[in-house]
Symmetry: C2
Subunit: 405 residues, 2 copies
């Protein structure tokens, strides 16, 4: 892809699952989600992208607290309002794309708002429409003119997705969005051929087709996920939200012949392996039918280290008297090593928190005694962000439970 062909290249910052408000009442971690959301917006501004595309779960709670809603609006106003003209032409019928909105107009074309970097977003399962008026938190951002919320469906029977059609120079983007639905329901609709993606009638082949969705990608049960092959094969790229592990590097699906990018969350909402992978947002460049994603490391994410130990594979002997103390000392050392590693691997970004998240999974099968995690936590209370749940005791290769994202 020709890097210099700027006037025909759409630059999109992609990010997802920011979970604003996660642990907001925690004295240590309360601000983490907003800090990294600010970093994402800051990067979008630095990179002078044409727009930002979010994949759902912007908010952690369906009803975000006033503080979190306020913090989000504050950041959007600070970073996304402004004089920078958006060089992307909006071609599709806005009354269709934003049909669920009281003001079905893309914010950067509304003469009452001066939008520098438009944000487009679908909803996730954490911030889906609910309650009176079937509204979600994104509807608040949308009615305030701060976000272009799309991909809201109302029918429970069938879905037809009309793309947002955008053009910059010779590049034409058909952007399909589908906000989170219950996996089983959407799975069933796919099986029954009740999901259709509408395509531009003319010069179909000129369009780059991008689909953003927020569903289980991993198989949690027979119908509790969306198999990749369910998705239309005319797609060029699928932006998969909801899965928190960062696998942003496009992954080719050879059967469907499309790519999938999974940016992953910008904050760890569980102490699982997938969340301990380095977190990124991405710069998606689209030039005609070609694209490239550049990983952009998020430097303000709280460091998170995770390790497994199997006591029976160590030199510790469950028969020895006081072995429990030895186990505790052994675990302490492990944790100390992770804390040190966190220190040495600090990104240098002044807004990255110092206190890391630490998780040590201890397989104690083979007759070992547990030790008191309360006492253990006290040793690390000032140096670890999650002192109370550092240690996770388990037995014999217990399967790592997938957390709800």
């Amino acid at each position: 892809m020709a890097d210099e062909d700027e006037e025909n290249t759409m630059n999109i910052l992609i990010a997802t699952d920011c979970h604003l408000g996660y642990m907001e009442r925690d004295v240590v971690r309360g601000n983490d989600s907003l800090v990294t959301f600010e970093e994402i917006l800051h990067k979008a501004k630095e990179l002078a992208v044409d727009f930002i595309l979010l994949g759902g779960d912007l908010f952690h709670e369906n009803k975000p607290s006033r503080k979190t809603l306020h913090g989000c609006l504050e950041l959007l106003r600070q970073y996304c309002m402004g004089d920078k003209p958006c060089p992307v032409e909006f071609l599709s019928d806005q009354a269709v794309n934003f049909g669920e909105s009281r003001f079905p107009i893309v914010n950067y074309e509304d003469p009452n708002f001066n939008v520098g970097i438009p944000v487009f977003s679908i909803h996730g399962n954490h911030d889906d429409p609910a309650g009176m008026g079937n509204l979600c938190a994104l509807d608040i951002l949308s009615v305030a003119g701060f976000v272009n919320y799309f991909g809201k469906t109302t029918s429970l029977e069938e879905i037809s997705i009309s793309p947002v059609l955008l053009q910059k120079g010779a590049t034409k983007l058909a952007l399909y969005g589908l906000g989170a639905l219950r996996d089983e329901r959407l799975h069933r609709m796919f099986v029954r051929k009740k999901v259709s993606m509408l395509r531009p009638t003319e010069s179909k082949e000129d369009w780059f087709n991008l689909f953003v969705l927020h569903q289980n990608r991993a198989k949690h049960g027979p119908t509790n996920y969306i198999p990749e092959q369910f998705l239309d094969d005319f797609l060029d790229l699928v932006f998969w939200g909801h899965e928190h592990e960062c696998i942003i590097e496009p992954c080719h699906n050879p059967v469907q012949n499309f790519y999938i990018t999974q940016p992953g969350s910008s904050i760890a909402t569980s102490l699982s392996q997938g969340e301990s992978v380095k977190k990124h947002c991405g710069l998606l460049k689209i030039n005609r039918r070609n694209f490239k994603i550049t990983k952009v490391e998020l430097e303000t994410v709280r460091p998170f280290y995770m390790e497994d130990v199997v006591l029976s594979e160590t030199s510790l002997n469950p028969e020895e008297p006081e072995v429990s103390k030895q186990v505790e000392a052994f675990c302490s050392e492990k944790v100390e090593a992770m804390i040190e590693r966190a220190e040495s691997e600090h990104t240098g970004n002044p807004r990255q928190p110092d206190k890391p998240l630490i998780r040590l999974r201890v397989d104690y099968s083979g007759g070992f005694d547990l030790f008191s995690t309360v006492r253990f936590s006290q040793k690390f209370v000032d140096r670890v962000a999650n002192p109370r749940d550092i240690i996770h005791f388990m037995r014999k290769k217990q399967v790592d439970k997938k957390d709800f994202k």
Copy 2:
């Protein structure tokens, strides 16, 4: 006051206590508050006022529902955004007036928002700052650029109020605002001389001084209100929020030599006498040091009729057999008459609801028996908005409890 001197006349729409979201889950009454708020904004637009001034309790709940917040933003976007230039110059230091805001700039001067009719508001006791970050619902409207929220104080010890200084032609307005505080606390601060109102240093006499506050005006207890004489006598006009009865006609206080206008709420939140008075907003015109308030009837307010009967003063005889049935029939007739009156006095505005609020207070002292209000309500369930609490039984001139506004 010269009516034609437009270029030197500030036109302000004054309204208060809109209580958005009041009874929002009631099938019949759920939308009343938003309907009348829309009428107020519509009138502001029709009258082409320079700005709107609200006196607190814009929201009924401290944490408005998503639907109510959304509805409010929707209306503000529809009516208050737009190309009409605001001819009022802002003279004071915005960093002081809006010091509690992350964006201390009046919205109509912010280049990112195209504001047609600015709204200025203080908070009431229903929508006062609380919780994490000490934020209130108006902070959400403010950070979104929709409302200029002022009069937020943080010190519990003393208050000094810096006016918003506005000028239009030869008219200079010093607008003082004080969001609701606990009456006892503010009363004590006044007694201890801890409340001061700062005045412009130069040409003091040129300014028209308007103070908007949201406190008890009626004496509910020794210190549970703010006596009018506590307020500075340099004031020209006091805009008193919180009291729901419409007494918008300026009332002269001869001791302090200022006027008080009490617009009253735009929706009845209790079935009390004060709330049954016709509701208005006002057009406040200020020309140099003179002012005039024109009452503007609110035509969409749900009709509310209230009547008292004292059974012992009627021809009904408590000794008669079946008198309870006679009493019920008597009350039915009264209610029927009020319903008829509501029909005949309908404003004709298509958005004024048909079903009235009806309250009949029945003094049954003198040995009368009560009748079943459940059965009574069934007669009116389709014709009255509050069938279940039409009748209020009481004895011997029981003092009408003041409801919490």
